[in-house]
């Protein structure tokens, strides 16, 4: 299982701060596609991802137990 973390507007649109995805080994792109399949109306165009708290690319691998965070553009400071 992979844990998907959601923040800010994305968290409100989906109505949860996390999701679980059943997969042993997949890519960040597949995780994104999974979320888009479940929630076709969300816009992930500007969302960047982090795997285990490090920024990641779509082709990066994730394995069971990993945490994939979906990060909308940040606005701290």
């Amino acid at each position: 299982m992979i844990k998907i973390l959601l923040f800010a507007g994305l968290q409100e649109e989906i109505g949860a701060d996390s999701l679980m995805m059943d997969c042993t080994e997949c890519t960040v792109l597949e995780v994104k596609k999974y979320v888009l399949t479940k929630f076709p109306l969300v816009d992930l165009q500007q969302v960047i991802t982090a795997v285990n708290e490090e920024f990641s690319q779509e082709e990066d691998k994730v394995i069971s137990g990993d945490v994939v965070a979906f990060l909308p553009p940040v606005s701290g400071g």
């Binding site: 973390l5 923040f7 800010a8 507007g9 968290q11 409100e12 500007q46 982090a50 708290e53 920024f55 965070a69 990060l71 909308p72 553009p73 940040v74 606005s75 701290g76 400071g77």
Partner: protein, 148 residues
């Protein structure tokens, strides 16, 4: 929540500026620059009632620490401390404090500005603005680029 003794922290209570300054004080310092980011009421003519900040806390702490390491590499003689507040903030509340000490003022100014620019780039913290007629997470939509 993190203790004030840590150089990089995310807290959900009022930031005490003096505490952040104390964290970078050094006998080798000839200057301390302090950046205080506060909640602004008017943004492009729109009146904000209050803000809410949310963080991916563990990663945000990691990224703040990384910014500290970057600064140490670029300006080796400096000391840096950063505290960001999350949760609900009222107008004029302090959202972030960056303190940098260095033997000479130029490095302290430069490193401090570098820190806030990097925070806005890589630290997973988001703010939501609340107005009379609604609210919005900032940074989510293109409109917000004009807020920068």
């Amino acid at each position: 929540m993190k203790s004030h003794n840590e150089l990089f922290s995310i807290i959900d209570t009022r930031i005490v500026v003096e505490e952040i300054i104390q964290q970078v004080k050094s006998v080798n310092a000839g200057a301390v620059t302090v950046f205080i980011g506060t909640v602004r009421e008017l943004t492009n003519g729109k009146r904000t009632l209050y803000l809410e900040y949310q963080a991916y806390e563990s990663m945000a702490l990691k990224k703040l620490t990384e910014i500290g390491e970057e600064i140490k590499r670029k300006w080796p003689a400096t000391n840096v401390a950063i505290t960001h507040r999350i949760g609900k903030l009222e107008i004029s509340d302090i959202a972030v404090v960056i303190a940098v000490s260095s033997p000479h003022r130029r490095e302290a100014y430069e490193a401090n500005e570098y820190a806030i620019e990097r925070i806005k780039e890589i630290v997973p913290i988001w703010k939501k603005e609340f107005w009379d007629d609604g609210s919005k997470w900032i940074g989510n939509q293109l409109q917000t680029n004009s807020y920068e």
